[in-house]
Symmetry: C3
Subunit: 340 residues, 3 copies
């Protein structure tokens, strides 16, 4: 008797009395060696490194509760991503899923930024040989009013809706509140003394992001539109076709409009074409793209990669990349990627 | 042979050779939408968000070793709690449990602050509709010499003892050392030039916290006393009764005495009355409380909440709250709480 | 149909579609009470506190992929180690293991620093009664150009090779790149205005560390050599013998050469002798060592410890230590260590 009451008291001290749920611990570690023009040989990553925790709970009647928390880190120094980003840089979201689709709340990648990776021959890797963030989305960022350490493709204080698949089409929506997140000032159409957005300013308009994704047979496509906290607009389109099982051809187009915060040269366009070709346990990645800012230097990037699967969860890779803008940066890298 | 020795060497490289223990990964994610007077609509939390790791080990003879590590985070931005708090803000404790009760060492909630939640109609939630920290404990903080980012209800460098249940009563004790934790200066009875406690000062007296908790039949009660690092005293009492299975009525009273660090108006009192009423899968939360500082403005808060259980681990909620002090703050919030 | 496609879409949203791997969550929590000369009684640690995640994947043909991520934290305040270190202070490494041995990339303890703990009677504990870092390695640090919060015994941006056991000998190699890690300036042979290594400087030579470890019958030995980012050299030797099953005698010798960054008094030597004696569930730890800098004060340290195993994973301990250098510091400590 004494013990059972103590046991209850201790359970209380140890958190809510509840059935143990099955939390899945997952992640990826990606680390390699790279040589970049004018830099010393470096241990670096090609893709994001993550440690995550996720789970679902069956609520009955086809309804599920779900959550996902994802840390990001630097594999070569052990710090959080970029040594500045939030602990759960990847995402912190909780939501419900049912016949109606999925709704989530928290922090995560925007609908447009999430949809485009399937049309990128380097699958959205953040490393130098990839096209993410710069060429592929015309240099656009989803978080212009957030601290410098924040990533470019997420909403804080956001809501997400993913529709079920309807005739091959999925509709994804996300929106953020106007809440300030403590970033540096954005001068914009103001002056340094009186910036258009002061340090720590809230959004002038609620950011939102919508994307439609289509997949049927050998064809895939996406079309998206996003407006961020300083009312920069992004139009993003992607297309892919598999003429053979082992070959995927793909292209993206992006147009950024900074008319709200720039008096001139407010338009930027980016395009990317590429291919993935599978040969046995290996896969070749080929990409070429350009970003053209109004009245400024065009960025041109070509990348070739090769991935060799040691297993379903582990592959080694080698990449060569050349990016020409004001300077010409050549990249040679090898490494290993391990999912767990 | 070669391999088995290598295997041993590798095990060594990978940590101590030991039987795998069963670490439980647990937590809670709580996220919603709230509108507060004079603020924009925000994605925010109602309760703490946590990711924890805990386990026990049977030592034989009724003795157990136990540990618990608990992170806290912001669900809307992915940072650690308040973007400033320790990684394991929730707790870091290790201890032993047996017939004698439980002893633990590390960082965690004090005995008094831990015991009071059962007498709070909002169960100690940290969000605006709750009464925690402000009204309920008369604005008292357990960590006045810790950095600004620290929470208000914990001891660092602490020891805890929880007795077994004796005639319905549990006795809980906690005490901290005088160690400095690097907080800002506390002017107190000194001056800004010569503060009573300099920046980074140690405690002038070892902080301690004692609480007795009684539970029998339809009645529950607690009585606690705490003294913090700057010798502010807290007297805290709580009482509850369940006149019907579905109804719990409760009240708390707190008296803070800052005589050691304030020359005048050193007393603050807080009281709170409330009810929880269960109807089917739903539960109504009702609370009203006041905090009266000596010779200053009285804080008055009324809150109404409703929680609807989607399962044993997940509920949705809606709250309305009104807090009147120098200003009048109205709060309207909805959200979801998912335990895992 | 609709649901299965949605399920796939959701899997995509939740990370790569893959078989769940078995991630092991492990760690240690070590917390106690200590009294040090001229300091107040403190809650402190004797050994490192850690929370880690590791796993292996069988790739077939005797090949395995492996990863390990290890956080460090302070048990008395809940912060990351020292409140300044990287989140994954312990290590972030990924690699492959096979007949050839093990190769890893990332951040971790150097070959020399890893090999010496087996010859330290206090087994490399970081707390005051231990000999790690100061006496045992002649005050040498592996990370002189890293931020002040970094540890002393690791390489960032490193590569590791551990050979299989060959005739009782294991060969361990590690090397780092010259990459800068953002540390403070090292004046060295320069001046404060023109330091030999400016703030954020890269290594002048790639750091490396090699160690050979021998184990056969009652004898063990190690010999290692390391050169860090500012070309300080460390020669480290260790020897142990078990004349009886319950008794292990051991000794280490270290010589640090700072000739590259110091104009005079560039040599430091350290030596340590000790014993571990097991009696039933208990174990006595005895150690004495000296560190002799060129033309400066000799550090002399004696430590006695006792560990009593409550189980395979949990022990309690008591230590007394006396360290004499410019001042005389006496240490008395007790505590608990729990592996999970």
């Amino acid at each position: 008797m004494k013990h059972s009451i103590l046991a209850l008291a201790l359970l209380g001290a140890f958190g809510a009395v509840q059935a143990q749920s099955s939390v899945t611990v997952y992640g990826a570690i990606d680390d390699g060696l790279a040589k970049v023009t004018d830099k010393t040989l470096a241990v670096t990553k090609r893709d994001s490194n993550k440690l995550g925790f996720r789970g679902t709970e069956d609520l009955g009647n086809g309804l599920k509760a779900l959550f996902q928390l994802e840390m990001r880190f630097e594999p070569d120094t052990g710090t959080v991503e970029s040594n500045t980003r939030p602990l759960f840089q990847g995402q912190t979201r909780v939501g419900l899923q049912g016949d109606f689709g999925m709704v989530r709340i928290g922090r995560g990648v925007t609908a447009v930024q999430d949809a485009k990776d399937a049309f990128d021959p380097f699958n959205g890797i953040s490393g130098t040989p990839g096209f993410k963030s710069d060429v592929e989305v015309a240099g656009y960022t989803s978080q212009p009013l957030d601290p410098a350490g924040s990533s470019n493709d997420r909403f804080n204080n956001g809501l997400w809706y993913n529709s079920p698949v309807m005739g091959g089409v999925t509709l994804n929506l996300s929106a953020g509140t106007k809440e300030a997140n403590g970033g540096a000032a954005v001068v914009g159409r103001g002056t340094i003394a009186a910036p258009q957005y002061a340090a720590g300013a809230p959004a002038s308009s609620s950011p939102y992001s919508v994307a439609a994704v289509y997949k049927a047979g050998m064809f895939g496509a996406m079309l998206g539109y996003e407006s961020n906290a300083i009312e920069t607009k992004l139009l993003q389109a992607g297309f892919s076709v598999n003429p053979m099982t082992d070959l995927k051809l793909m292209a993206t187009y992006a147009r950024q409009d900074q008319d709200h915060s720039k008096a001139s040269n407010a338009k930027t366009t980016g395009w990317l074409v590429g291919a993935n070709y599978t040969v046995g346990s290996g896969r070749f990645l080929l990409g070429y793209g350009q970003k053209k800012p109004d009245a400024a230097i065009t960025t041109k990037q070509a990348s070739i990669g090769y991935e060799y699967n040691l297993s379903k969860r582990t592959f080694v890779y080698a990449d060569v990349s050349d990016k020409k803008a004001a300077t010409d940066v050549k990249y040679y890298g090898i490494g290993v990627h391990h999912n767990f």
